[in-house]
């Protein structure tokens, strides 16, 4: 069973964008970056926008490779990687378009972890500039 129904992005250090429907996620604190399979990108997108895990499980139950069991493990992995945390927010509905894309997904939920660009990612250019510190401003280790 998943730990929770609703999740949120774990911290401000987790930044992400979607390109051609594929999510890329950076952890600015560790310098790791994460790539997703097609189905993984959709699930990430849904969870980040507050869609409940239960609603997701219902939508992808029909897709052979991305069944509900896979979903639980996948979410647990995202939590373990420090990308998501359980939230007590209200579950948002799954947009129809996303539901259709999930139903059509035919590959396993997957996230790959990379750390070869850690030095580059930790330092900027992503970090917010806090004038008058100027660029590059680097988050101090807490």
């Amino acid at each position: 069973m998943p730990q929770a129904n609703v999740y949120a992005v774990a911290s401000k250090d987790i930044v992400f964008e979607s390109f051609d429907g594929e999510a890329v996620v950076l952890d600015l604190a560790s310098g790791k970056y994460f790539g997703f399979s097609d189905s993984g990108s959709r699930v990430w997108q849904a969870l980040c926008s507050g869609v409940g895990a239960q609603a997701l499980a219902g939508s992808i139950a029909g897709a052979a490779a991305t069944g509900a069991t896979g979903l639980d493990a996948f979410i647990a992995q995202l939590v373990e990687l420090g990308l998501l945390v359980p939230s007590d927010g209200t579950a948002q509905p799954l947009p129809d378009e996303l539901a259709a894309e999930l139903a059509a997904a035919n590959e396993p939920l997957n996230v790959s972890v990379h750390d070869d660009l850690a030095d580059l990612i930790i330092v900027d250019p992503i970090h917010e500039v806090e004038e008058p510190l100027g660029w590059p401003a680097v988050k101090q280790a807490s």
């Binding site: 964008e17 330092v123 660029w135």
Partner: protein, 244 residues
């Protein structure tokens, strides 16, 4: 050298190259990307005195296309290629030090040196001002690199999908294809930090940087023979960087 409205800085930038004429047979290609200030006139004036500066003007098309215009204008016999932005300074001795590495090793394809971030440059002496704050890192910057012509041809064009971070993408592509490279201690660039630097447009920068990472990841997923980019960049000293 792409130029867009850098009237104040482009002359020192070019002078910093001209002072190194003894180190290499320089062909300085300047692409004026539709400047609306006196940048093109300033470059033209210098070009009159120094024919190794070749000025080309185009309608404003952005830095990525300007860089590709420059690559298209390389002379057939050009052996080594580097870049300098129009607001930065090439340190004295930079080319002498690293060009020599190519002379010693004909198989060398890339030297990737250090850069110094400087908050104040003496534009007469073309050196960091005495009271400047500075820090030296092996960052991510095209000016840190000297590419062999062969490598430039292997890497291909700058990806015009990028409005920014085209340099990050280009360098990542360069390292992924596994060139023979060295990481010299040379300071290859004085990188001027001032309020007008393009990289301070944070929103665009963030997305474009993420796009560069994404594309690198995608290329390596599709082609496992591409190399991970490990041990190149050393940026940890930037944690000390502050404008005083």
């Amino acid at each position: 050298m792409p130029v867009y409205n850098r009237e104040r800085y482009v002359v020192p930038a070019l002078r910093s190259l001209l002072r190194q004429r003894d180190a290499a047979d320089l062909d300085i290609i300047v692409i004026d990307d539709g400047s609306t200030d006196g940048s093109a006139d300033a470059v033209r004036s210098m070009s009159g005195e120094s024919p190794c500066i070749r000025l080309f003007q185009q309608q404003n098309a952005g830095v990525t296309r300007a860089r590709n215009t420059g690559l298209r204008l390389l002379k057939p016999d050009t052996e080594l290629v580097s870049f300098l932005d129009s607001d930065d300074i090439s340190p004295a001795g930079r080319f002498e030090a690293d060009v020599e590495l190519f002379r010693k090793d004909p198989g060398l394809e890339l030297s990737y040196s250090r850069m110094m971030l400087v908050d104040k440059i003496d534009d007469e002496r073309l050196e960091p001002a005495a009271d400047s704050y500075r820090i030296t890192v092996r960052g991510i910057h095209l000016s840190s690199a000297i590419f062999s012509r062969r490598l430039v041809e292997r890497i291909g064009w700058f990806d015009e999908e990028f409005a920014q971070a085209e340099d990050t993408d280009y360098l990542l592509r360069g390292f992924e294809i596994g060139p023979r490279y060295v990481l010299p201690e040379t300071v290859a660039l004085y990188y001027r930090r001032h309020p007008g630097n393009m990289t301070k447009q944070e929103d665009v920068q963030s997305r474009e940087f993420l796009r560069a990472i994404y594309k690198s990841m995608k290329r390596r997923r599709a082609n496992p023979s591409l190399r991970p980019i490990e041990g190149i960049f050393e940026l940890d000293k930037l944690t000390d960087w502050r404008f005083m």
